[in-house]
């Protein structure tokens, strides 16, 4: 057992850092550190650069065009990119549907879909939740009826992140309404340009538009776009959710968050000194710092089990729970650090390129909106209540 990095891993980290510095635009990087929202180009340009380097699908095995990295390399890659201010990779293609396709898809489907995912030429979004099927995902009602070599799909998906940018959506649909809930579901890939697909924005608490309703009205989908057998979509769904829960802890971003909190504390005036001189405040940062370390080590232990050939077990739910709580706490402290200057609502500073000077310090405009927005992290990807049910049932046997 050894925590220290081997020389070849240090060289690897240097290579990733040099790549990020050469390929990440200054504007995108600045948005990361100022807490501004990225636009589509920020994401796509960066992801396509990663794609050209063969690094976008960095968790994939070599066989499917991934770099075939070990656990340490993945860990370094994620951390270095976070330190350099790279936007998070939009997970729907490379982290979610890609692995489902190479695990459950036919050779024809792999050839057809994987290249566009690896290169980020094709953007994906996720059609899981429905208005009546959130925590109880298996109760989903979007219906797919077989007609010859097509399905006719009708229903509504919701909370679909980036549907307004998406070229394709992967959907859980009900192909057999008479089977048990989990057994009548199939996994379909749907081209967003198909007639009958409509996207409607949902505006969030901070005024941002990331998520959408997606309406499916007599959408004709070739049977060839089904991954896995009819009625076996739930297997794909569970496989994907377990992968999602692993990455969703966002440890590298939280490490960056803790560093940024200390910078904010040093910059915030308080009683003739700065907040960095206020032990009541800095102790709260230290507490978070330690929580992040515990989370990171737990994640590394889970990854190292996977490296030895194991699959991520249900205990990864604990990573999602703690990861989301930590992210929320970081945003809460960042807001409290700003004090009354968290109050001015400055959408121009959040969503647009602007020459306006911010009201208050540079870190003020996103402080409260991020706190509000990050309440979603304990809700999405399976609410924390559901994650705890999973742990109590699957891990503890209660």
């Amino acid at each position: 057992m050894d925590l220290a990095l081997k020389p070849e891993h240090k060289a690897f980290a240097d290579e990733v850092r040099a790549f990020a510095r050469a390929n990440l635009s200054a504007a995108t990087k600045a948005k990361t550190f100022s807490g501004k929202h990225y636009d589509k180009d920020d994401h796509i340009q960066w992801q396509q650069a990663l794609g050209r380097q063969g690094w976008l699908a960095y968790t994939w095995p070599k066989k499917y065009g991934g770099p075939g990295w070990d656990v340490t390399q993945r860990f370094l890659f994620e951390n270095v990119l976070a330190e350099e201010g790279a936007p998070r990779i939009i997970p729907f293609g490379p982290k979610m549907v890609g692995p489902v396709i190479y695990t459950f898809g036919t050779d024809e489907q792999k050839e057809r879909f994987l290249p566009g995912i690896r290169s980020s030429e094709v953007s994906w979004c996720q059609g899981y939740s429905e208005p009546g099927a959130g925590s109880d995902l298996a109760s989903l009602r979007t219906r797919a009826v077989r007609e010859g070599d097509h399905y006719i799909v009708n229903g509504q998906k919701t909370w679909t992140s980036f549907a307004h940018w998406g070229d394709w959506i992967f959907c859980l649909v009900r192909t057999n309404p008479d089977a048990k809930p989990q057994e009548g579901i199939s996994f379909l890939l749907i081209d967003m340009k198909t007639p009958g697909v409509t996207v409607r924005p949902i505006i969030m608490v901070d005024g941002a538009h990331h998520v959408n309703d997606v309406f499916l009205d007599n959408v004709k989908v070739p049977v060839a776009n089904r991954i896995g057998k009819e009625g076996e979509g739930w297997t794909c769904a569970k496989f994907l959710l377990a992968n999602e829960r692993l990455g969703i802890a966002e440890v590298p971003a939280s490490k960056r968050g803790v560093r940024s909190l200390r910078d904010i504390a040093r910059a915030e005036p308080a009683n003739g000194a700065t907040l960095a001189d206020d032990p009541a405040f800095t102790a709260q940062i230290a507490d978070l710092d330690l929580q992040v370390q515990a989370l990171e080590m737990s994640e590394l232990r889970a990854l190292s089990t996977m490296a030895l050939g194991g699959a991520p077990g249900p205990e990864v739910s604990t990573l999602k729970i703690r990861g989301s709580e930590i992210q929320q706490r970081i945003t809460e402290l960042a807001m409290e650090a700003v004090g009354e200057y968290a109050a001015p609502y400055q959408p121009g500073m959040l969503f647009q390129d602007t020459n306006e000077t911010p009201i208050g310090p540079d870190h003020a405009p996103p402080a409260a909106p991020r706190y509000f927005n990050f309440r979603k992290t304990s809700i999405y990807g399976g609410s924390n209540e559901i994650q705890k049910n999973i742990v109590s049932k699957m891990v503890l046997g209660l």
Partner: protein, 380 residues
């Protein structure tokens, strides 16, 4: 001891409840927030007519002889409706300081028209470096002939875009953060040399950054005594804190009611999600938190005019700690129990959550007031 409302107070509560029901249905509030001023002159006129703008002032000052309990009753209902009219900056802060420190002439010129709904105020105390220290003031007022000249910056001045007069806390002597050497000035909002940068706040109120560039005022602009404003300001802010606590209890009642209704009706796994024990217990904790908030607010409202300044200050800080804690718990829990719907702009829940969050940050958050309370308690 009697903790029940008098008949008059019950009538006041009914009237405030009716006002909120009639004027502040959620979609109505959205419309009011989108108007240019961000509040409705007709609502303000109605508040004047109902006597709310004068209820907390003595009859001698042209008011109706009520006090903090009347303010509490009205603010609580305002919290339920997320009311946008500038009651706090105008009546509680501006009116409160004028009543406390103003000359007869100032009361006639400012307080009387305010009670009639014809004048509004803003209180400019905060500066970029102030955080929650009311004495951390560097905007300077220097003698100029018989009057004064004001130069410096003030931030997050609520209601400055609509105010007729701005009450400015300035340094006339002493060093940075010294309590002695602070003076209040009543300045015409349109005075030459004032530059405003207006904006909406997270919770749909309006505020401004103000720059004062050699703003000339007469000697009669001084409110209270020169160099001796700190006590007046601290007391007014403590009254404002207690009023905010009452507003927050109203917010908590509303957000808890909305959440309770939601978990009774939202079905997952074939049953209303309120059937799950984990949500039942969380809902009980919300209810308990709101009870504690109401209790501490009532206690503070009863003590905030006490003769002993330590009692007053401890009451305000104590209640603010509770409101910070309870508001955060109820706000975060309501969002969580609403699931994705809780983080949308569409439902009222996120708007109550935002207001509760901003209330915690106003005039000192939970941590600040815990420290203040602790220092006062240790000194006793």
């Amino acid at each position: 001891m009697d903790l029940s409302l008098s008949d008059e107070q019950k009538q006041l509560q009914d009237a405030a409840e009716r006002f909120v029901r009639d004027k502040y249905a959620f979609e109505n509030r959205r419309k009011i927030a989108a108007t240019e001023k961000g509040w409705l002159p007709e609502n303000w006129a109605q508040m004047a007519e109902l006597g709310w703008l004068g209820m907390a002032f003595s009859e001698e000052d042209g008011g109706y002889g009520g006090g903090p309990i009347e303010t509490m009753i009205v603010m609580e209902q305002f919290g339920k409706g997320l009311v946008l009219e500038p009651f706090l900056p105008t009546v509680v802060l501006g009116g409160g300081m004028i009543a406390k420190a103003g000359s007869k002439a100032q009361k006639e010129a400012l307080l009387a028209p305010m009670i009639e709904g014809k004048k509004q105020f803003a209180f400019a105390w905060l500066e970029r470096q102030s955080r929650y220290n009311l004495a951390d003031v560097s905007l300077k007022a220097t003698k100029e002939g018989n009057g004064w000249s004001l130069s410096g910056h003030k931030g997050v001045v609520y209601n400055a875009p609509s105010a007729d007069n701005i009450i400015v806390l300035a340094r006339t002597s002493g060093s940075a953060r010294e309590e002695k050497g602070l003076t209040l000035f009543v300045v015409d909002a349109k005075a030459k040399g004032i530059t405003r940068r207006d904006y909406p706040t997270q919770d749909s109120l309006r505020a401004s950054e103000l720059t004062f560039d050699k703003v000339s005022v007469g000697a009669d602009a001084v409110l209270g005594k020169v160099d001796d404003a700190f006590g007046v300001v601290e007391d007014a802010v403590d009254h404002a804190i207690v009023a905010l606590c009452a507003e927050a209890t109203g917010c908590m009642d509303a957000i808890n009611a909305a959440t309770l209704e939601y978990i009774k009706t939202r079905k997952q796994f074939g049953v209303p999600i309120g059937k799950f024990q984990v949500l039942q217990h969380r809902m009980v904790d919300c209810f308990t938190n709101a009870q504690e908030a109401r209790s501490m607010t009532l206690m503070a409202s009863l003590k905030i005019d006490d003769k002993d300044s330590v009692v007053r200050r401890k009451a305000a800080s104590g209640a603010k700690v509770q409101i910070g804690k309870s508001g955060k718990f109820c706000g975060q829990s309501a969002v969580q129990m609403h699931g994705g719907m809780g983080v949308t702009d569409e439902l009222s829940v996120s708007h109550y959550f935002k207001r509760l969050t901003m209330i915690d940050l106003m005039f000192g958050n939970q941590q600040h007031h815990l420290t203040r309370y602790s220092n006062l308690a240790m000194a006793a």
